[in-house]
């Protein structure tokens, strides 16, 4: 296989067998490793290794300094900015602009531009024109063109632009000065310094060889030329005539220029290799519907590789790092070694997610009456993470269910702290400046706990490292305040980039790498994923405060240069490839459009490839999951026995009206809920839904009348009692009800959430209205409230007659005017009419009136408990949705069609019909031939807790 590095190594070895004196400079470390490896394969006895370096190394070595990290630099920049700008924005708003400005300054220096001229002002254009003599006419033209675009200067945006623009030149100067003082530098500044003092580079007896470079910055170019002319360095180019000789190929842009250069020109070989043209590689193009399907395809391609081939001659290029893990996960078994140049993204690690969650929690901490409270959502997420759970599983479990049960929106710190030391560490309310110590203590603490998790510890260490770094930087910035939000944002920003490198033998196994790391390396088989515009090449757009034409005029790189660099990395991969697989995805998302890469277009047109691209699709099939039917096997029948009255007159459990209603709605639902006993999901609800609202309303009424009875020591209510009730007792009753509902202690503070506060006020309206209705009905006597009522009910089954237990809580029983009223409060919009008694048990009737069925059920229960009763039993429904209507009437109405209907006066008039209906219902339930199956009415499934099981 053709190999640039090996050929170069051989050539050098021939000329300079004394490797000790060699300094080899390569674009990156990886190429260095490969180079040394090749050298090793070419020698026959031990030898000194040459000194292998990157170009940065040389610059920093000459400068005697390394650049400071970006964040410190931006802080420094901001300090200077503050002194120059009349109204500087806050640091967090400045931050991203700072990044951009810094990058511009770096470019200015890297490309040896004269900053004071670059950032000159419009008004100075005339004098500059004479002064800009060092610029060519075409460059001048670009500058003029830019300034001419200011046709009218009164424009608001142009003003803004100019104001800022004027600031940049002084900013540049002062910033550099202040860095000098602080002993810091950014990399361009160092490069420039070295480039401006090349004459101070002392001669050496080492032989320098520069290998495989493409696009130099101006400073690099100066340095290398100096080495060539003054020190006799050599330079080797990694090129191909395919793009060198065709002036349209952007990949050859720089080389063509270098070949015409006085110094570089002679270093080019007289004959440019033409590997690409001659190789006639097999080229495959694939389109996949999803990004992740690329991995499935790569796996399949690798599977087809014949055993025994050397994996290191195959490379998988990943322009989008995100693909790394999907690819690793689908590698076939025959790949026994891989070498990956990218690292593990620490932000994916759960440990990191935990840390971020900790910070997020800080957003929602509050102090009320001296108590620190945490918001339930954040706390619950943390509690359910394995890090807290594993510390004190019992405590976490208990706390979680407590939070649930008490619907705790805010959780007091004291409660959390009882979990132990680690919990004390975690749940604190912090100022922005306490965040660092907090996190680092926690990290060390966590690391100590992750006993058997070496991987987790590694992730954690990376986080720790970064945190330390940030901390040091922040601590230096005493004058700049950073708020929590910014801290969190920055924390995220920094960690998004952190990668944990993999250990490994770089020179063995399948090679997986990013685009730029493939420089100078040669492979027989090349597989490239994400051959999409915006990935390879990556999306364009140079982020700069310097307008495009000004950049061009002053020789700073613009898109053209970027394009050339990427095109070169692409075509270089073809130098020795015999088999090329290019995969692009057609999925468009997140603004990226799934457009195939320009390189594919270029190759198709220019290499005369006419093989059609392969469209990869994944078969679309769906497993049908049939109906669920649970037969009444003996096991199931046994469960039904629990409702049967035993000889001692009791039953293990009873049918409630809602259970029966549920059975009518859907047999399977009844089964799942009451027989399989699969618990429904419960949540902490901030939104108060109808059922919560109903419950609180129930309690409120109970407390209200209970309180009345206690105070007045009587069960009768007269019309004049209501004024006082409405005025003075509604609010306390609601307060009490809320406490009861959320299981709050008497004295616990009931600071309500926003939504709750609204609910309370609304509820008050309701209760007052209810009292008005009662007032009209007064006088009446309260018989019971929220009391359980029981009945034994006989049915016939194949096994003989049995009795089953029925049970229900009647919201209120009162006696008014010689009538016993059985009252049910409903928070929904239940109707009070029903066509006839049979309809209550007709499961196919979509209008089946559950509320009526339930209030009638109370009749049955009441009568059965009070067989001696002779008064009429009148069911009544106080349904909140209607209660505000004028002429509100709580009584049931038997009514079909347009008739006027008959008000239900006495349950006993309906008793036979009702009991018959109930009987056949229960008999069906006990019929072993009728299985528990799914309802066919999808409406019923809408709010069913089991719809995930049923897939409805």
């Amino acid at each position: 296989m053709h190999s640039f590095l090996r050929n170069t190594a051989a050539q050098i070895l021939e000329e300079y067998p004394d490797l000790q004196k060699l300094v080899i400079v390569l674009p990156n470390r990886r190429a260095g490793l490969f180079f040394t490896q090749h050298l090793g394969s070419l020698i026959d006895k031990p030898s000194w290794m040459p000194d292998v370096k990157s170009i940065e190394d040389i610059f920093y070595q000459h400068a005697g300094q390394r650049p400071a990290d970006e964040l410190s630099l931006i802080f420094e920049l901001y300090k200077v900015y503050q002194t120059l700008h009349p109204e500087p924005e806050t640091f967090d708003r400045f931050y991203f602009w700072g990044e951009m400005i810094l990058k511009d300054f770096n470019d200015v220096d890297q490309f040896m531009a004269d900053a004071s001229k670059l950032y000159h002002h419009l008004s100075e254009i005339k004098e500059l024109e004479s002064d800009l003599g060092f610029l060519s006419d075409s460059q001048l033209e670009l500058i003029r063109q830019f300034w001419n675009s200011f046709q009218r200067q009164d424009r608001n945006h142009q003003e803004k632009f100019l104001k800022f623009w004027q600031l940049l030149s002084p900013l540049y100067t002062s910033f550099k000065a202040s860095l000098e003082v602080a002993g810091m530098a950014y990399s361009g500044m160092l490069y420039r310094k070295v480039a401006e003092s090349l004459d101070q580079i002392s001669k050496t007896d080492k032989h320098f060889v520069f290998i495989g470079f493409n696009a130099f910055t101006a400073t690099e170019e100066m340095l290398i030329k100096h080495y060539i002319t003054a020190i006799g360095a050599e330079i080797f180019w990694d090129i191909d005539s395919y793009y060198m000789e065709d002036k349209n190929q952007e990949a050859g842009l720089f080389f063509r220029a270098y070949r015409n250069d006085k110094v570089f020109g002679p270093t080019f070989p007289s004959e440019i290799p033409d590997q690409i043209q001659n190789r006639d590689a097999k080229i495959h193009v694939y389109a996949t519907p999803l990004k992740s399907n690329q991995a499935n395809l790569v796996g399949a391609i690798l599977e087809n590789v014949i055993d025994g081939e050397d994996w290191k001659e195959t490379v998988v290029i990943l322009p989008d790092e995100q693909m790394l893990f999907p690819i690793l996960h689908t590698l076939p078994g025959q790949v026994d070694k891989v070498n990956v140049t990218m690292g593990y993204p620490v932000k994916n690690a759960p440990v990191y997610a935990f840390l971020e969650a900790l910070l997020e929690m800080q957003r929602y901490v509050k102090t009320e009456d001296g108590k620190v409270l945490f918001y339930h959502q954040a706390v619950r997420n943390l509690l359910s993470s394995t890090y807290l759970k594993s510390v004190n599983p019992g405590f976490v479990q208990k706390l979680l269910s407590e939070v649930q049960e008490h619907n705790m929106i805010h959780i007091p710190q004291s409660k959390l702290h009882s979990g132990g030391k680690f919990f004390e560490l975690v749940f604190q309310q912090l100022h922005a400046d306490q965040l660092f110590p907090y996190l680092s203590t926690l990290m060390e603490e966590l690391a100590g706990r992750l006993d058997e998790e070496p991987l987790q510890r590694s992730y954690l260490f990376q986080c720790f490292k970064q945190l330390n770094r940030l901390r040091e930087i922040f601590e230096k910035q005493d004058k700049i305040t950073v708020d929590r939000e910014f801290f969190i944002r920055l924390f995220r920003q920094v960690f998004r980039e952190v990668k944990l490198p993999f250990e490994g033998e770089p020179l063995q196994g399948l090679q997986i790498m990013g685009v730029l790391e493939s420089r100078n390396l040669d492979f027989r088989r090349v597989i490239i994923c994400n051959m999409n515009e915006d990935s390879f090449p990556p999306s364009g757009g140079i982020n700069s405060m310097i307008p495009f034409n000004i950049r061009r005029a002053f020789g700073l790189p613009v898109q053209e240069q970027n394009d050339a660099i990427y095109a070169y990395t692409f075509y270089r991969l073809l130098h020795s490839a015999e088999e090329v697989h290019m995969i692009y995805t057609t999925a468009s998302d997140q603004g990226k459009s799934g457009e195939k890469s320009r390189y594919i277009h270029q190759m198709m047109v220019e290499m005369g490839i006419n093989k059609k691209e392969e469209v990869i699709y994944v078969p679309i099939d769906l497993k049908s999951h049939g109906e669920i039917t649970i037969e009444k096997e003996p096991e199931v029948m046994k469960l039904l026995d629990r409702y049967v009255i035993r000889p001692d007159g009791s039953s293990h459990t009873n049918f409630s009206p809602s259970a029966l209603s549920m059975y009518m709605d859907c047999r399977l639902k009844f089964y799942l809920r009451y027989l399989a006993e699969i618990k429904e999901k419960e949540e902490v609800k901030e939104e108060v839904d109808a059922s919560v609202f109903g419950n609180i309303a129930h309690y409120s009424m109970e407390f209200l009348y209970e309180g009345f009875q206690e105070r007045k020591k009587r069960v009768w209510l007269d019309k004049d009692d209501f004024g006082d009730l409405k005025k003075n007792w509604v609010y306390p009753a609601i307060e009490k009800a809320v406490r009861k509902f959320y299981h709050l202690e008497e004295e616990a503070d009931t600071k309500l959430s926003g939504q709750m506060a609204i609910v309370r006020d609304v509820l008050k309206k309701y209760i007052v209205r209810l009292l008005e209705v009662d007032e009209e009905a007064a006088p009446f006597k309260i018989i019971s409230m929220e009391q359980a009522h029981h009945a034994k009910f006989e049915i016939f089954t194949p096994l003989g007659n049995i009795k089953v237990g029925l049970k229900g809580f009647i919201d209120r029983v009162d006696e008014q005017n010689g009538i016993v009223r059985l009252i049910d409060y409903k928070s929904g919009g239940d109707k009070k009419t029903f066509p006839h008694i049979e309809s209550l048990f007709d499961r196919d009737d979509k209008q089946r009136n559950k509320a009526v069925m339930q209030t009638m059920y109370y009749g049955l229960l009441y009568q059965s408990m009070h067989p001696e009763n002779t008064l009429p039993l009148k069911p009544a429904l106080f349904n909140f949705k209607e209660i505000f209507q004028e002429n509100f009437n709580p009584y049931l109405l038997e009514k079909s069609g347009r008739s006027n209907g008959i008000e239900v006066y006495d349950y006993r008039d309906y008793q036979d019909g009702y009991e018959n209906g109930l009987k056949s219902l229960l008999e069906e339930l006990y019929d072993s031939d009728v299985p528990f199956d799914q309802t066919s009415d999808l409406e019923k499934c809408k709010y069913c807790a089991y719809k995930e099981i049923c897939g409805r």
Partner: protein, 1072 residues
């Protein structure tokens, strides 16, 4: 001919719009090789962008070798450029190369991405943050905004009172008090252009709480007044009735008499009963009030004249007042907190550093207004001279306002610009599309003189019968629609409908006119069976589908030739479900039923995804038994295992699952410690879900969703589950083009596409659907109280009888146009066959339904001169419209599509790779060293790379910047270094005489390397040093000796060797 630089192409469906656009593009681009850099072609979707690019490249590739003399494009380009064949070939070749190698400036782009590019370039000038992210999920943003507003209830007195009032009023009207939902519903408006147009005025109005309170009080008082008046009327009416000895049931109509309406006067919710159209005549004369035979005739006449007639005459005006007030107060509460919403939105955008996709238009408008075009180009870095805008009918007002200055600048320089579109295909009004621009506005604004109108009137897409059918239908349908709006909504200005359809007639292309098969249109009317439940038509239509698909296959159509068009995704879902179910039920069929849809095949439908999701939910909260059971249930389904009581019973597991459940439970904890993506992969493996090799497209889709989530968000399980709640209704399987299956797509998505056969099983919809709660902003003025405001009105029927009736009528007109356009788009997609199913009514009542119009037009003789007579093709008996015969193909054997081989098996990456360890990290040893503050390894790492003490400190500095050392630790290390260097022997290994080979080891043949920490070559001797940490070991000496041998050999000098223990500073000289 004078030069008219502004060309407007009005292109009907199938008229070769892309062709024309490509041609026009090439005319400009071929002028000189780099000309393309100055052209911006704007398309509507990403997909269209790509297609356009591919098309241009394709034509250029062709043109560089072959010129066709019968090709309009070739001829026109040659003419426009004044070149001959060879000249064109050359130009094409040059331009193609230029484009391919400066591809970044090949500007074919969507409006959005162009706008974003500009806004980004001006971020600083329009006070945006650098690096803002574009947020597409506006619903999500709104959720967060509303949450923030509600959370402020306790702090903001006005807000609190206002919301409580709101909740109470909701309840009193028998509505849900869940105000959050309502707020979100209307709150969506803040992203709409319609609202933004008035935003300044509205903000001004809402600034003072007094204003909104005043408006509320105004409507409350007036409503109370009306109730009061109506109650008086009721009393009066009853007085008259009683005085005449009548019951309301004595009037005409008996127990359901219209007269009962008098008794309904004054009800709180609807105080004024509405009269039917018939009854609106009643107040005028008594003749409708009694039956001829009534014995109460005289009394009724008397009562009428005593005032009942007069009272009834007041119904209408009162109702109008009432409805007006209702309309105002309907949204008043939510409207009242718009200020809060907007404030929170601003804060949120700033905090999250986002730019809403809907804001881009607004910003751009500001930018193009505030700047001269050249300056914009300078900042953006691209100079555009020519604009080509496609789908112009869907451009919004803001978008046009943004473009206009740029276009004006361009044509002021005599440059060509091109707008292309078809008002008839404008179906994006709900997204702000403003078709009036294309219809007439642009012409008005730019001035007729600069504009050249071009019409494309030949249809190249469809066969003659299809064209003839559409020509005939769309001659009549617009008129029918227009009549309907005029009649039903009293719309005065409905002319826009026919204006939009003026040029609907299309010519048949020469090539298609002579083909043996002329195309077919079949529209079947299905009569619903009355006694069955509702939704019956849908059932009937669905049951027809398999038969239709089989019939088409018999006629030689392949699956990929067929497309189903639907109005809603839901309809698409039911079609997909039906056909997929049929496929499973008939595994041995000779026919195929594969369907594909990007829009309606939801991931969450798959058993695998359900099992996975349940598994994830269970892992997140293990006390959720429902999830646990759900997971195993679907595992059983996927493996065809029995589903019975033992599967569901609490604390029970069927025998065949015991092993797997146990293994799963053992892994639970380990799973939780994995990153999300790996957790998912492991879960798939653990449950064996990929083993069956089914539902792979769904698994892939789900994985992709997880990847996407993990990339953008904090990748934890809780967050994912929450995110998925919303996303599951959006995520569908993804399908590449070119797969042989039938497509299901909504009409909206079908725009610009064509298919051999188009099926529309649900050819029905409501034309003006007022049930959707759409909102219009309308000015309102109260002259008495002297205030005016712009308020949101929810569209509903009652507006017809209110002071807002003209707004309502205007909406009705536009809604009709929307519907008309929608059906136009649908019917013009077919190349060869269109086949639709329509519900049939014996008697057509109401014209607000598309199906009603279709039935009337197709079945009755209302033909237009010069067009096909539609009714001739209507078979009254079978209720089928059928034009054209089937083609003479026969069934092609269904080719089993072979899925390409892909690899699905999973393995954990840790089998292959390990992550790097660091000195003094959090590993067990590292922690130990940390505790002891022993940094030997670090010092080692530093020294190994250093040539001098200064250098070592520099390295140390690096570690510090890297974060591996804290400041405090740095001092410890620094001291250690100083201590070491204090030893002269130690120091002599660095910067002393001789050559120091640091980093530079010894290379062995084959590539192995030996790297003693230091090698120093002096004149007479060589020195080898190796640093060690921790305990002393004898084997270290051996190693150093080995180094010494090598060095001696290479340097040819006598070699000394040292071993240095870094913690203690102890140095051992190793003897040879």
């Amino acid at each position: 001919m004078e030069h008219r630089p502004f060309i407007i192409y009005k292109s009907s469906a199938g008229s070769g719009k892309t062709y024309t656009l490509t041609m026009e593009y090439l005319k400009l681009a071929l002028q000189h090789p780099g000309a393309f850099r100055n052209i911006l072609a704007v398309t509507f979707t990403n997909k269209a962008t790509q297609e356009m690019k591919e098309r241009i490249l394709k034509e250029l590739t062709r043109l560089k070798t072959t010129i066709r003399h019968d090709e309009k494009m070739d001829i026109e380009i040659m003419k426009a450029l004044a070149v001959d064949e060879e000249g064109l070939k050359l130009k094409a070749a040059e331009s193609l190369t230029c484009i391919l190698h400066d591809y970044g400036r090949f500007s074919v782009s969507t409006i959005d991405s162009f706008f974003q590019k500009v806004v980004r370039a001006f971020a600083r000038e329009v006070d945006l943050n650098a690096k803002f992210e574009v947020e597409m999920d506006q619903d999500g943003v709104l959720d967060r905004v509303v949450d923030r507003v509600v959370a402020k209830v306790m702090e903001d007195e006005f807000l609190h009172r206002w919301l409580v009032d709101y909740a109470i009023e909701q309840i009193q009207n028998g509505k849900s008090w869940d105000i959050r939902r309502n707020i979100k519903e209307l709150g969506k408006q803040i992203f709409q252009e319609d609202f933004k147009k008035f935003a300044t005025e509205i903000k001004e109005f809402l600034k003072e709480e007094q204003h909104i309170k005043g408006l509320q009080a105004f409507s409350r008082e007036r409503k109370a007044q009306i109730i009061h008046i109506s109650r008086q009327l009721k009393e009066e009416a009853n007085r008259i009735r009683i005085a005449n000895g009548l019951e309301w049931t004595d009037f005409k109509g008996g127990s359901t008499s219209f007269a009962k309406r008098f008794d309904k006067l004054g009800e709180r919710i609807n105080p004024i009963p509405e009269l039917t159209d018939n009854q609106s005549q009643f107040p005028e004369s008594e003749e409708h009030w009694f039956t001829k035979t009534s014995k109460n005739k005289d009394a009724i006449i008397a009562a009428f004249h005593q005032g009942l007639g007069h009272i009834m005459a007041q119904f209408e005006p009162l109702l109008i007042k009432w409805n007006t007030l209702e309309a105002i107060s309907n949204n008043i509460f939510v409207f009242g907190i718009f200020r809060n919403l907007l404030e929170e939105l601003t804060l949120l955008k700033d905090e999250e550093n986002i730019l809403l996709i809907s804001d881009a238009n607004e910003f751009l408008k500001e930018i193009t207004k505030e700047n001269d075009a050249p300056f914009i180009y300078e900042k953006v870095g691209n100079q555009y001279r020519n604009y080509l805008i496609d789908e112009f009918q869907d451009t919004s007002g803001f978008q046009w306002a943004s473009f206009k200055p740029l276009l004006e600048n361009s044509f002021a320089q005599g440059q060509t610009n091109l707008l292309v579109g078809d008002v008839k295909q404008s179906i994006y009004r709900w997204r702000g599309g403003e078709m009036r621009l294309l219809l007439e506005e642009v012409e008005r604004q730019i001035g007729e003189k600069s504009i050249r109108n071009e019409k494309l009137d030949t249809n190249f897409r469809s066969l003659p019968n299809i064209i003839a059918f559409n020509n005939a239908l769309f001659k009549k349908l617009p008129i029918a629609f227009e009549d309907a709006v005029k009649q039903d909504y009293l719309a005065k200005d409905a002319g826009i409908i026919s204006r939009a359809y003026e040029d609907v007639h299309q010519k048949v292309s020469v090539r298609k006119s002579t083909l043996p098969f002329q195309g077919k249109v079949k529209i079947e009317f299905l009569e619903e069976l009355k006694e069955e439940e509702e939704g019956k038509f849908e059932e009937m239509a669905l049951s027809r589908l398999p038969g239709m698909v089989m019939a088409l296959q018999d006629r030689g159509y392949e699956l990929k030739d067929i497309a189903f068009l639907v109005r809603t995704k839901k309809e698409g879902e039911s079609i997909a479900d039906t056909l997929m179910a049929f496929n499973t039920e008939n595994p041995d069929s000779d026919y195929r039923f594969d369907v594909l849809s990007d829009e309606s095949m939801y991931l969450h439908k798959s058993a695998t995804v359900k099992a996975l999701l349940a598994g994830l939910k269970y892992l997140h909260s293990p006390d959720e038994t429902v999830q646990f059971k759900t997971m195993w249930y679907y595992c059983a389904v996927l493996k065809d295992e029995p589903v019975d009581h033992s599967l569901f019973a609490l604390n029970d597991v069927p025998d065949h699952l015991k092993e797997r459940v146990k293994s799963f439970q053992e892994k639970e904890n380990a799973l939780l410690q994995l990153p999300l993506m790996e957790m998912l992969e492991e879960l798939i493996a653990e449950l064996g879900l990929q083993q069956e090799g089914i539902e792979l497209a769904y698994i892939s889709g789900f994985k992709e969703a997880v990847y996407d989530f993990a990339m953008k968000n904090r990748a934890d399980l809780a967050g994912f589950l929450e995110w998925w709640e919303e996303q599951q209704y959006k995520k569908t399987v993804r399908i590449p083009d070119g797969h042989n299956a039938m497509r299901i797509l909504t009409i909206h998505k079908s725009k610009g596409l064509q298919f051999k056969v188009v099926l529309m099983p649900f050819l029905k919809w409501t034309i003006f659907d007022t049930g959707k709660g759409n909102v219009v902003w309308s000015p309102f003025e109260d002259r008495e109280n002297q205030f005016s405001a712009i308020i949101p009105l929810t569209l509903n029927k009652k507006l017809a009888k209110s002071d807002f009736n003209s707004t309502y009528a205007e909406e009705a007109v536009l809604a009709h146009l929307d519907s008309l356009n929608m059906i136009y788009v649908a019917l013009t997609r077919a190349e060869e066959v269109f086949w639709g199913l329509v519900p049939y009514k014996q008697e057509v009542k109401g014209l607000n339904y598309l199906q009603a119009h279709l039935q009337l037009l197709l079945s009755s003789n209302m033909d237009t001169m010069g067009e096909l007579s539609l009714s001739e093709y209507f078979d009254k008996e079978n209720k089928v419209f059928e034009l054209g015969d089937w083609p003479e193909h026969s069934k092609v054997p269904a080719k089993e599509a072979r899925a390409p081989h892909l690899r699905w098996a999973y393995q954990n990456w840790t089998n292959l790779l390990e992550v790097r360890k660091y000195a003094v990290d959090f590993s067990e040893e590292g922690m130990e060293q940390r505790k002891k503050r022993s940094f030997g390894l670090l010092v080692h790492e530093i020294l190994e790379k250093s040539e001098s003490l200064e250098n070592a400190k520099l390295q140390m500095q690096d570690l510090y910047f890297e974060g591996r050392l804290s400041k405090e630790e740095k001092t410890i290390v620094e001291k250690q270094l100083d201590d070491l260097f204090a030893n002269p022997l130690f120091a002599s290994w660095f910067h002393s005489e001789g050559e120091l080979l640091s980093e530079q080891g010894i290379l062995l043949p084959g590539g192995k390397q030996k790297r003693p920490d230091k090698i120093i070559i002096r004149e007479k001797e060589a020195i080898v040093v190796d640093f060690k940490t921790g305990e002393e070991y004898g084997k270290y000496e051996k190693q150093v000796r080995e180094y010494m041998h090598l060095v001696q050999e290479l340097s040819g000098k006598s070699t000394k060797g040292y071993l240095c223990y870094l913690e203690s500073g102890k140095i051992l000289e190793i003897l040879n």
